[in-house]
Symmetry: C2
Subunit: 211 residues, 2 copies
């Protein structure tokens, strides 16, 4: 088993933190997205869409979406549970995970990719066709969506110390990775959002945050 | 238990098809997205993000993301399996489901929302902040992404009659709903994509497609 990874990228980091929380170590193959290595022939033979992370099993089966990788490890090693322990909790984690992904991670990606010169012809992650040029208006839309995201986050954390109940889950991982990602484009947790600040300090202090 | 639904919208339809395949019937509350009822005070009290579908349990617990709703029903009634039967199959369904969602459903939403006059101030689904204006350049980007999506779909269907192996899963549901959705903006399965045409005829003929 091996993980095609990219140290600087937020989606592979979600998988690395998940694995670190489970105490699972697997070999990693580094692929440099910034230099476009993910769109070169070697990696496109692994994943034609050019996206990371990818988990490859010993029989060659590949999982090319981060949530599928996490779900697979949760299935084969349930402890500690990161995707919920009961049907209701699993659904609540899925709800929150997706909110953090769409409102945080995807919005951050819009701001980053449509700002950064390395991605001027790669507005959409990955490959598979003609160049898709950056759309400057997405930077503003992404910033507006992230302002909403931070508002929601502060509300969600009124109810519980973690995003779903009293323990750390995948929803926290996605939110944490989205926040560290948008710091690259100088977007920070608003100073007035004290619950989010406290939550962030606590998740950033976990050993897995170094993964 | 009840489902907040919108008959014309593609995401609620994913949940309705999933439930129909399971043979589960639950009461539905119709909310008109086109007229903005999802952004009115009554529905925002149910889901502050203004998105559909939402499943409400008898104890008031709410799941406000379609995949969470589907996962909950798969957990409480596993047959027929629509999210995979083994850890590997579940991960493969998740991979494919997400591809159909990001490359098909989200791209279709970009084309639709940034074209349709009813959504001129609602480029991003749902509410929660200031108006986010339509971005005309997203129409082209969405169309390019959908061209990729149809290319992938034809390739995936080389390997198996359904998107993951030999039976119908959530990945097929999402793809089918994305295709019916993009027909509204006159985007169709390319005539040359014969496997996709055949697959589409087969999934559209299932009784659940009427849901």
């Amino acid at each position: 088993m091996k993980l095609y990874d990219c140290a600087m990228a937020p989606n592979p980091r979600r998988a690395r933190i998940f694995l670190a929380e489970k105490g699972i170590e697997i070999p990693k193959v580094e692929v440099d997205i910034l230099e476009g290595e993910n769109l070169g022939p070697a990696f496109l033979a692994v994943n034609p869409r050019g996206l990371l992370p990818v988990l490859e099993l010993d029989d060659g089966t590949r999982f090319d979406e981060v949530m599928a990788i996490c779900r697979y490890f949760e299935d084969i090693q349930p402890e500690p549970p990161l995707l919920g322990r009961t049907p209701v909790e699993r659904a609540l984690v899925e709800c929150m995970q997706r909110k953090m992904e769409f409102d945080g991670m995807v919005a951050g990606s819009e701001v980053f990719r449509n700002t950064h010169p390395q991605f001027a012809a790669r507005s959409i992650p990955g490959g598979g066709g003609e160049a898709i040029p950056a759309i400057p208006a997405l930077v503003d839309r992404g910033r507006q969506t992230l302002a909403r995201f931070f508002g929601w986050l502060e509300r969600y954390l009124e109810r519980s110390p973690y995003l779903v109940g009293d323990h750390y889950t995948m929803a926290d991982i996605t939110a944490q990775c989205a926040i560290d990602f948008v710091a690259w484009v100088d977007i920070k947790i608003p100073a007035a959002n004290s619950r989010t600040q406290r939550w962030y300090e606590s998740v950033a202090a976990r050993p897995s945050a170094q993964a």
